[in-house]
Symmetry: C2
């Protein structure tokens, strides 16, 4: 029989298939990621003048901004959904609130190598990407108009990537996205009631049960959450209670790079290079209030086909690969 | 410049493109809906013995259950995600709540005609479908284990339909789905603060502004909401404040059938027969509490491609066709 499970942070119920009827990785359709844009790619070295100007980069000593010699670089989005110049001009219109589309919309090019994606980079190269996530977070947070820095990656067409060269996106928003607001609310309530962090309790339970963990090191734990929305959904949490992403140390960055690469490689192996999205869930910025009850983390969602997990009636999820089984596949896969 | 808009019910912010840079219907990819399963379709008349037994139907006078002569019929799902027999057995497991997958999962076959979809049916035929929605709602509500009846339709592969013969799904759940819980919370808060229904206020604002309405009759209003998640998203609301879907009168059913058919035909014309999902948003059942502050409605989401509207960072929507423009296209389309 299927099981109904409730997410303790946001209160979402999902239906999880029983293991007898579960779908394995072979069930899910494969996607073609053959590279077609190499000859015209604006993110490739030597074409730096085809992107908007660089806002940050990690470069070879002596190389110049907006020229080659970079390991990873951040540029403004050529077609930004939000613009940095102007006033928010918050206003009402009947029952609605409106403001101008002010924000920042940046693209982080993760490697000069058109043929590689994040999973294929070395730990050293992944650490640079994470360092740029931090740099941009900390820099954009100085603009008091912004309340949240959203960092995410779309890999593959069916995950929404419109450019094939490996990249992430960094977006500064003048408000808190709904999904974070919900997590904050749930985490705060739990903290007030029990005096503990809900994510720390989840970590402890994962470590006790040892059923859904598939990668870890001293600093980070990767597991398939007990209440997923999608098959093979994966979370990476810092083992220590940390709510400020920007304050992660250099050591933390290296640890995260190691686990993130490991996780992405296992997903690539087990699901035959699926498209995926990942999202950093971090605390808001520029509030008087502190978000000490929160615990930042990364959520990774392989984009499998509709026959996979699916969403019923706008917000009710059915997951046909139980997380225990997904974690088993991922744990037993080679991470090379 | 884009605009940030806040949904007043659930508090979700979305980015809406400005009209200068808006995408028209021609932008969105087309999907092939050619019918391939006619010869083997289990939902076609004459193959009633290939489905699970009928739980309800509207039939020609004198015809028998589980044989031909039906106009629309409801059967149990052959591969149910929830089963009707058994105990919920609610229990905790550390920070998680669990229960057995108890519920009902039914399929409503909307027409005997394999070649037609809901938009192609007559108003009389659509009324029968709505009547069965009501019958099943009212019947399943008698089972006190159930807290919510979810009714929805997936049309087309990319909207998740696994069978091409026109059908809807009816699911009885032992808990309230998150998206409804959020709407209830927002509607109740608004009601407590202002003594009015938020959806009634929204209706009034739509009628005053006359910018986003594209179909209506005496009983129902169809419009593209000011804060959509997806391009061409459409809501149908009863004009009168009604929170119990099951209590809609026969007259109401005919009015709804007329508007629903009109809306689906316009969407079919303007977007060249896209896949779509629609969901009834109704009040929960079997609570001591009354949900008089709620206002049931239908939400219709054409399933356009990723390049269309898209979701950023798990819960932040960017909509590249402003609702005023979407409504204009839909209003000016032929509804024949």
């Amino acid at each position: 029989m299927t099981q109904l499970r409730r997410d303790p942070v946001v209160g979402r119920w999902v239906i999880v298939e029983d293991e007898k009827n579960a779908l394995g990785p072979e069930h899910y359709e494969k996607e073609d990621h053959s590279l077609k844009e190499r000859a015209i790619c604006q993110f490739c070295p030597g074409r730096e003048n085809q992107t908007p100007p660089e806002v940050d980069a990690i470069r070879e000593h002596g190389s110049h901004p907006n020229s080659s010699g970079w390991f990873a670089r951040v540029v403004s989005n050529k077609f930004p959904a939000l613009r940095i110049e102007g006033e928010l001009n918050k206003r009402g219109s009947g029952v609605y609130d409106i403001s101008n589309g002010i924000g920042a919309h940046e693209v982080l090019i993760e490697t000069p190598d058109h043929d590689k994606n994040l999973a294929d980079l070395s730990v050293e190269e992944v650490e640079r990407v994470i360092r740029l996530y931090q740099n941009r977070s900390n820099s954009l947070a100085r603009d008091k108009r912004f309340k949240y820095i959203m960092i995410f990656k779309n890999y593959g067409r069916s995950a929404g990537a419109s450019v094939e060269h490996a990249h992430s996106q960094v977006i500064a928003l003048p408000m808190i996205p709904k999904y974070v607001a919900q997590e904050l609310e749930g985490a705060e309530e739990y903290y007030q009631r029990r005096g503990k962090c809900i994510f720390c309790d989840m970590l402890r339970q994962e470590e006790e049960e040892q059923e859904r963990i598939f990668a870890q090191n001293e600093g980070f734990l990767a597991f398939c959450p007990f209440v997923p929305r999608y098959p093979f959904e994966t979370w990476i949490l810092p083992k220590e209670h940390l709510f400020e992403f920007g304050e992660m140390t250099e050591k933390g960055r290296w640890q995260l790079a190691e686990v993130l690469k490991d996780v992405l490689l296992r997903i690539k192996k087990v699901l035959q290079d699926p498209s995926y999205n990942f999202y950093l869930h971090v605390a808001p910025i520029n509030f008087d209030k502190k978000f000490g009850f929160y615990h930042w983390h990364i959520e990774i969602v392989p984009k499998l086909t509709r026959e996979a997990g699916y969403e019923w009636g706008s917000g009710f999820y059915v997951v046909r690969t139980p997380p225990r089984l997904a974690a088993k596949y991922l744990r037993e896969a080679s991470n090379q």
